[in-house]
């Protein structure tokens, strides 16, 4: 009764206080707006970075190609890179990069996919809990340490097998093998993710038809996860193309157009690292040339990354 009485007195008071209708629109809170703008800005930095990369590489490359010593056609078609005598053909650098990446993929694809299948299809929880962190450790070791390994262990080892006369102190084979080791964990972890996301009903159906574990893995699970596995390989390839420290230490410091993996041949990344290593003065052809090489490198890796993205989204088998 007392409650009712109070409500009735309030009801009597209310109309006199709020005469106009209640505004239900979202109120503008200035703090919220400021914070949202700040957050937007920090997210937008990534766009700025991309624009910055494209702008910087493009602008300095334009200066490079505007130089009378450089010819766009010769840049992409001739096989001599000798800035001292005005020869700028990028093919030896691209060739060495592709050779190192190819050797690396020869090592990393079988090792990485094999390890991924083992971890995802065979290993028990306990074994997996032990092996996966080890692979992550392998992935976390700084690349300069791999470079040390290539130069002080792999090269002497190759020289003792093939003879010191055939294998130079700096060579693409040692660099390629070690880059392969370096990208193996990448392929293994990404492929393992793809393999484990294949629904287990597929495996059980295969087992139910009497297939062995190997037949199930290779004929059912691997094809089902193939897009993810291929994408992993492409991402790893892009990583191998951009890898710098191993090739800077082990592949030699002379741009050399050769298909012999025992010979020294400088890659694109190795060349950029060597040229910019000293006190590089601006407005020289050396300075602008690293931007032109960087632009080519950027496009190669960008195309590989976009390709992997397309493969994942277009060819993925969707279950359930």
């Amino acid at each position: 009764m007392a409650d009712q009485a109070r409500i009735s007195t309030e009801a009597a008071v209310l109309p006199t206080v709020t005469t106009r209708p209640v505004d239900l629109r979202k109120r503008l809170r200035i703090n919220e707006t400021i914070i949202q703008s700040l957050l937007f800005l920090s997210a937008f930095i990534s766009i700025f970075t991309t624009l910055g990369i494209v702008y910087v590489l493009g602008q300095e490359s334009l200066k490079f190609f505007a130089d009378p010593a450089v010819d766009l056609w010769e840049f992409f078609t001739t096989t001599v890179w000798q800035p001292q005598i005005g020869q700028f053909g990028i093919l030896p650098l691209v060739n060495a990069t592709l050779m190192v990446s190819f050797i690396a993929m020869l090592v990393a694809v079988p090792l990485g996919i094999g390890a991924a299948i083992y971890l995802s299809e065979y290993a028990s929880e306990r074994v997996r809990g032990f092996l996966k962190p080890l692979l992550e450790v392998l992935a976390g070791i700084p690349t300069v340490v791999y470079g040390f390994f290539a130069l002080t262990f792999v090269t002497p080892f190759l020289r003792s097998i093939f003879g010191a006369n055939t294998v130079s102190i700096y060579n693409d084979l040692a660099a390629g093998l070690v880059v392969g080791v370096l990208i193996t964990p990448l392929i293994a972890t990404l492929s393992e993710d793809a393999l484990s996301s294949v629904p287990s009903s597929l495996r059980q159906a295969s087992f139910g038809l009497g297939a062995t574990r190997w037949e199930t893995s290779i004929r059912v699970v691997l094809p089902a996860a193939l897009s993810g596995v291929i994408a992993a390989c492409i991402v790893a390839m892009s990583r191998a193309v951009g890898e710098t420290m191993v090739v800077a230490l082990a592949a030699g410091a002379s741009p050399n157009f050769t298909f012999n993996p025992f010979q020294p041949a400088e890659t694109m990344t190795g060349h950029i690292a060597r040229i910019s290593g000293g006190d590089l003065s601006y407005n020289t052809i050396d300075y602008t040339s690293i931007f032109a090489i960087g632009l080519v490198l950027f496009f190669i890796t960008l195309i590989l990354n976009i390709l992997s993205r397309i493969i994942v989204s277009r060819f993925r088998e969707v279950y359930e």
Binding site: E32, I35, Q36, L39, S42, A43, F44, I45, S46, I47, T49, T50, G52, I53, V56, L57, L111, G114, A115, Y118, Y122, A123, L131, L135, L138, G140, I141, P142, V144, V145, Y146, F148, F149, T152, F153, G210, T212, W214, E215, I218, V235, S238, R239, G242, E243, T244, A248, T269, I272, A273, S276, L280, Y282, I290, F291, G294, F298, T301, L302, L304
Partner: protein
């Protein structure tokens, strides 16, 4: 797989006969055997990866420890007549120096500080440096030192009859606390270690707020419509904002695939060259180092921050996404605004996950070398970095520099520096994991 058994030919299929009896047993046994073989092969590939990890560590340790052959110009015993140096009294040491040094050298030394006024330890150092002059003539790896000793001793006896073989650990207290030197025996990583720590701290300060902010924006504000939906321009702006947001997500993915050396080039053109007044500190009037030309810690840190930003963003995004939406809705239900919900509910709950990702990013920043080379880290710095605007060197740069020298001594100290780097990586990881576990425990209780 054998085609004849698992995939019956068309003739068999039409007659409806499948392998029977003994054939089935053989078929199954063969397939299982094959399965076992391939399982072994797969296991072997995994083992190879681990074997290589072991090989890598072995190689580093093998070079970082080992034997050294030291030969002195004059033996201690012949100088003192058989008594060890530290048993001699101060006047005896002075006498020893006066007897054996040439008068010009003596004169110079006396002018610096008269010999008679120096204490015994300083005199012993002097005798070591001027008279005994121990010189490193040959170095051996750990395996050579341990398993090939006889051959080494025989070789030494022939080449350097007075040399003595000793065990040497290139990683030592002195190695960590001494500054750079052009002599590998005296060189240390102190300046490089300070450079790395400075750079790491500044990178974290720049990258983490930006990365976490970006992750929150993408996850929490992606579909926010800040402009007035009832007006045409508001709808247009909201729509373009949504488009930009989806572009940001794609862009971050692509950025994570850009080679690190490209970031180095970006840093060289923008932070070192274009923003030189800012990064050399002259804008603030604090750039004491006129020779740095913008090749400073702050320029390197900004470059490194851009490099690790995608990693920080992607891992923070996952952590924010993992916070259950019931928590958010409860917060809104109590009348909290968006930012109140994000800052007091979402962020504290996502923090352990965010930290996990940032550990990864920090490890990357510690070990990354290529961008530092391009941005222009110096290789030879004797003084500790004094602030964000000083020239610097970093551990990976030293490793790169020393590895690329042909002499064995440099190879040994490169291996020693690698051990320091790996220990630093491990300890940063350990600290971060402890912090994360503490936070996680707090949230649960």
């Amino acid at each position: 797989m054998s085609a004849e058994l698992t995939q019956p030919t068309s003739g068999e299929r039409s007659s409806g006969t499948l392998p029977e009896g003994e054939d089935i047993r053989k078929n199954v046994a063969g397939r299982q055997r094959r399965g076992k073989i391939y399982q072994g092969l797969l296991f072997a590939t995994t083992l190879i990866a681990i074997f290589i990890l072991g090989l890598l560590l072995f190689n580093v340790i093998n070079d970082a420890f080992g034997g050294v052959a030291i030969q002195s110009t004059t033996e201690e015993e012949t100088l003192t007549g058989g008594r060890p140096l530290d048993e001699l009294s101060q006047p005896e040491l002075v006498l020893l120096l006066e007897e054996n040094l040439r008068s010009r050298v003596l004169g110079n030394l006396n002018r610096e500080q008269p010999l008679a006024e120096r204490d015994a330890a300083a005199l012993i150092d002097l005798i070591n440096a001027e008279l005994i002059q121990p010189e490193l003539v040959e170095i051996y790896t750990l395996t050579e030192y341990l398993f090939n000793r006889e051959a080494i001793l025989a070789e030494l006896a022939e080449d350097y009859p007075r040399a003595e073989l000793e065990f040497k650990s290139w990683v030592s207290g002195d190695f960590v606390t001494e500054p750079m030197s052009s002599q590998p025996v005296d060189a240390g990583v102190r300046t490089a270690l300070f450079g790395t720590l400075w750079m790491l701290a500044m990178t974290v300060v720049i990258a983490f707020p930006l990365g976490i902010g970006a992750a929150i924006f993408i996850e929490e504000y992606e579909d926010a419509k800040p402009f007035d939906e009832r007006k045409a321009w508001g709808r247009f702006l909201n729509k373009s904002l949504v488009r930009i947001n989806s572009l940001i997500g794609l862009n971050i993915y692509n950025l994570s695939g850009v080679p690190s050396i490209i970031y180095g080039i970006l840093g060289l053109a923008i932070f070192v060259r274009a923003l030189e007044p800012l990064t050399s500190g002259s804008l603030f009037g604090v750039g004491g180092d006129a020779t740095a030309n913008g090749r400073t810690i702050i320029a390197a840190s900004m470059t490194m921050a851009l490099l690790i930003l995608p990693i920080v963003i992607i891992s923070s995004q996952e952590a924010v996404r993992a916070v259950p939406s019931s928590l958010r809705q409860a917060s809104y239900g109590l009348g909290a605004t968006k930012w109140q919900t994000v800052s007091r509910i979402v962020l504290p709950n996502a923090l352990p996950g965010i930290l996990t990702g940032t550990i990864l990013a920090m490890s990357r920043a510690i070990g990354e070398t290529a961008p530092l080379i391009v941005v222009g880290a110096s290789t030879f710095i004797v003084t500790d970095p004094s602030g964000p605007f000083s020239k610097f060197t970093a551990l990976p740069i030293q490793i790169y520099n020393w590895t690329s020298r042909p002499q064995d001594e440099f190879r040994a100290i490169a291996a020693a520096a690698i051990i320091v780097l790996l220990v630093l990586l491990l300890s940063v990881n350990a600290v971060a994991i402890i912090i994360r576990n503490n936070l996680r425990a707090k949230r649960v209780s």
